[in-house]
């Protein structure tokens, strides 16, 4: 690792640590750090108990969702060899959200299998994008356009549910928009378990991601089973994006923004890019959520809206500057 990469890692880790502490201690209830630690240990401070029940879960979920979505972006970009591939843009997230909502609306008792339904939905969306855009190779533009179309279809399918006016719409909003409020420790469990599995698997396939950056036939002649590598990496990416969507809701741009900043700071080697993206993604969503609930407390702006406010301008910046990292 070069000096720039090392410094970037240190800064992001420190910032994530500081942001977590700031986020836990501030908001509509404010405590000092010492009060917090004391309260968590003794369990006698009522304010700290409220924080533990309501604020800690959302913070942990924000951190893991940010990491999951960013790494999912890295993996999809590597599989599709396209800098614009991102779970939000190509419809993986909305597919996951839609399927989770559909199944939970029809079978409310299966609530705890929501991550599984989300995974099926995400995989379906990804499969559709992949197969429609494959025409003896990936044309980056065609792939993004098809992704946008698939995304629009699943998003509108989800939105039709809001017009049924029944109990489902309120329950389902957890999935389609991304207020991180009202998260419980049960949600944390799902996010942390599946998120960690996905992140560990993602790190294990870093060398495959590196080889896929070469031409397919070059990778193949090096002895890589390109089809197997693509399939496994895609499955991990879909798992990460689906779990994040099922527990934290839809976030656009984070899977686009974070890997690109990562490539500029630590380079294109996935051995560094994957861990760095998970840290930076965690930091970004945590900051978005913390900002959203502290700017106009006690009212809240959803984290996804703050995220999109940052991501939108960045996409424009990216389109102006692209090809600086890609191609040789």
């Amino acid at each position: 690792m070069n000096k720039k990469g090392l410094i970037s890692f240190i800064i992001v880790i420190v910032l994530l640590f500081v942001a977590t502490i700031y986020s836990v201690t501030s908001g509509s209830i404010q405590v000092t750090f010492t009060e917090l630690v004391k309260g968590l240990i003794t369990g006698t401070n009522n304010e700290v108990q409220v924080i533990k029940d309501l604020r800690l879960p959302r913070i942990i979920i924000a951190i893991f969702a940010g990491a999951a979505l960013s790494v999912s972006g890295v993996l999809l970009q590597s599989v599709m060899r396209n800098p614009l591939a991102e779970p939000g843009i190509i419809g993986v997230s909305s597919g996951a959200g839609f399927m989770a909502m559909l199944m939970v609306s029809i079978f409310p008792t299966l609530f705890f299998y929501m991550p599984l339904f989300a995974f099926i939905g995400g995989a379906l969306a990804f499969f559709l994008v992949y197969s429609f855009s494959w025409k003896s190779g990936f044309d980056p533009l065609r792939m993004i356009l098809i992704g946008v179309a698939i995304n629009a279809i699943f998003t509108s399918l989800s939105q039709t549910f809001n017009y049924r006016g029944s109990y489902t719409s309120s329950m389902v909003q957890d999935v389609t928009t991304s207020t991180l409020s009202m998260k419980k420790w049960a949600d944390v469990e799902i996010m942390v378990i599946y998120g960690s599995i996905g992140l560990i698997l993602a790190f294990l396939v870093f060398s495959w991601c590196n080889y896929l950056a070469l031409e397919d036939k070059t990778a193949k002649n090096l002895g890589l089973n390109v089809n197997v590598a693509r399939f496994v990496i895609s499955a991990i990416a879909v798992l990460l994006a689906s779990v994040a969507t099922a527990t934290a809701g839809l976030f656009l741009f984070v899977g686009l923004l974070v890997p690109h900043i990562g490539r500029i700071l630590v380079g294109t080697d996935h051995k560094l890019l994957i861990p760095f993206s998970s840290l930076l993604g965690a930091l970004l969503i945590l900051l978005s959520d913390t900002l959203g609930r502290t700017i106009i407390a006690p009212n809240e702006i959803p984290a996804s809206i703050i995220m999109a406010l940052i991501g939108g301008p960045f996409l424009i910046f990216l389109l102006r500057k692209s090809d600086r990292i890609y191609g040789n």
Partner: protein, 256 residues
């Protein structure tokens, strides 16, 4: 290596290779020439198992290459492709180290043999002092040498090159061809390449395979194969075939 009755089609309508048979001599340089679209790169691709033929098979060491595992095959055959791309910030040494992929299992790191192979590959391609440069900082000829270094790190007995001199100016073209020649002579690599330039093919090959319309027209030593009538038949160009004391056999187009 034997090429047995290969038939291949990209679209299942036209046969891009039609019942092609031939033989690659071990330890020699074999060059495939022919007009655009004659199937020469396709044939090389099939010999590297990048495409699966509709009929026929490639036999290497008594085995069909389609039955070999990807890594097993990558220890036998290395391929330098015409088009290559890699992330711009990859260093020469790292890209060369990718050639060790067939010898890796998921959790292993660089062993001593890997290091030696990479060192050897960089030395052969004269890139030792460029090892820490990123590939976007290299000239076209140097970049092509890095791709060759990567394939050398695979330490295979066979090296295939698909139009390795395209896009290079004349100095780098000959630099690459001299490197290929040296690898054949000193390291006893069996070379199969596709070339466009007939004179380069004559000069650097032990055997030339001439193709047209998905068929092998003739195969043999350069002086047997490169004649006025065959060039006219293949390319439709009238040439004069001359012998020069220094340059050896060469052709000059004189009209169409």
């Amino acid at each position: 290596m034997e090429i047995n009755n290969i038939t291949y089609s990209y679209d299942h309508k036209v046969n891009h290779l039609d019942d092609v048979s031939g033989k690659i001599d071990v330890g020699k340089v074999t060059t495939i020439i022919g007009p655009n679209g004659c199937g020469k790169s396709t044939l090389l691709g099939i010999m590297a198992n990048n495409y699966v033929p509709l009929k026929g098979q490639i036999i290497m060491d008594g085995k069909r290459i389609t039955t070999m595992k990807p890594k097993e095959l990558a220890k036998k055959i290395a391929v330098v492709h015409q088009h290559n791309s890699a992330p711009a910030d990859l260093t020469v040494e790292r890209l060369t180290s990718y050639g060790r992929l067939p010898y890796k299992s998921m959790f292993s790191t660089n062993t001593i043999t890997d290091k030696e192979a990479i060192e050897w590959a960089l030395e052969q391609t004269n890139l030792l002092d460029k090892r820490n440069k990123t590939i976007n900082a290299l000239s076209g000829g140097e970049r092509q040498r890095v791709w060759i270094a990567m394939t050398l790190a695979q330490q295979t007995p066979f090296l295939f090159l698909d139009e390795p001199t395209t896009y290079l100016d004349i100095y780098y073209q000959y630099e690459i061809l001299e490197l290929v020649k040296r690898l054949n002579e000193e390291q006893a690599l069996t070379i199969v390449m596709v070339l466009h330039d007939i004179n380069q093919a004559i000069r650097y090959s032990d055997t030339i395979i001439v193709m047209k319309n998905g068929k092998i027209v003739t195969q043999g030593k350069p002086e047997q194969v490169i004649t006025k009538s065959i060039i006219k038949k293949i390319y439709g160009v009238d040439v004069s075939v001359k012998e020069d004391e220094q340059a050896g056999l060469f052709t000059i187009p004189i009209g169409i």
